[in-house]
């Protein structure tokens, strides 16, 4: 009962916030919509008893990714300037594609798993976080994705710093 109510409330808030995120011309408001959606996702994770991932979702998405996005929006805009239209003239086309995709997937889901509920025996083990940690470094488990992720992040950092930052000397010259 309570979980169903919380789920429905979260879902509605999330979807409205997601609409704000893609429709608002004021991009800071759009980013705030994104933050609310990300938070709602974390609530859904708690409902699914994936507690570690719920907090990780908030730490990574809300705490780091959203802040990076908000930074980029605020840094590239004149304070007090008008936003102007943020939508392409071809938006009806986009609406058509997105709408078709959504309807198709939703119909497929309804047809495939109409009312599958949780099996009675399906409990999440209490030490799930420890199991995840062990699996991440287990040679027979997922050690390759784990190490590849670290290399990917290292590469991303190097690439991003290289692209965005020319070093102090180059920086001084571009601003002269």
């Amino acid at each position: 009962m309570v979980t169903t109510f919380v789920f429905l409330l979260t879902a509605v808030v999330m979807l409205v916030a997601a609409l704000i995120a893609v429709l608002k011309d004021n991009l800071v408001h759009a980013a705030m919509g994104l933050v609310v959606t990300l938070f709602g996702t974390a609530v859904l994770f708690v409902l699914m008893e994936a507690y570690f991932l719920a907090v990780a979702q908030v730490v990574i998405y809300v705490g780091a990714i959203a802040i990076l996005i908000v930074f980029s929006i605020m840094l590239t805009r004149r304070v007090g300037a008008a936003w102007g239209a943020q939508t392409n003239p071809t938006w009806p086309f986009a609406l058509l594609v997105a709408g078709l995709l959504t309807v198709l997937v939703t119909r497929m889901v309804r047809a495939w798993a109409p009312d599958q509920v949780l099996p009675a025996a399906a409990a999440v083990p209490a030490d799930m976080t420890a199991r995840l940690g062990a699996a991440l470094v287990d040679p027979n488990g997922y050690v390759v994705p784990f190490e590849v992720a670290s290399v990917l992040l290292l590469a991303a950092l190097i690439g991003a710093v290289y692209v965005a930052w020319g070093g102090r000397k180059a920086e001084k010259e571009t601003h002269k």
């Binding site: 997922y142 990917l152 590469a155």
Partner: protein, 102 residues
Amino acid sequence: MIPLSWYLVVAALLFGIGVYGVLARKNAVAILIGLELMFNAVLVNVLAFWRYLQPGETAGLVFAVVIFAVAAAEVAVGLALFIAVYRKFGSSDVDDINLLKW
């Protein structure tokens, strides 16, 4: 109890909204916002399947964790490119960046 399909429908709607954002927006950061919505929809999907089909296994959780890493790398590099372009062209509109047009 909440049926599995509810989670999947919410994820599908979220994904659709994200697709619309990616296709309809002008500003590069706004496109990234749409992309993030799509990533989140995928995360909800993955975890819903984990919870309902294999709650004792770690595969679903590992999948979600790897998606976190990929999303972070994508945002970092995407925004770095955006900022480099902004510094070069003084605009954050993808329509204005048309060097490859000719």
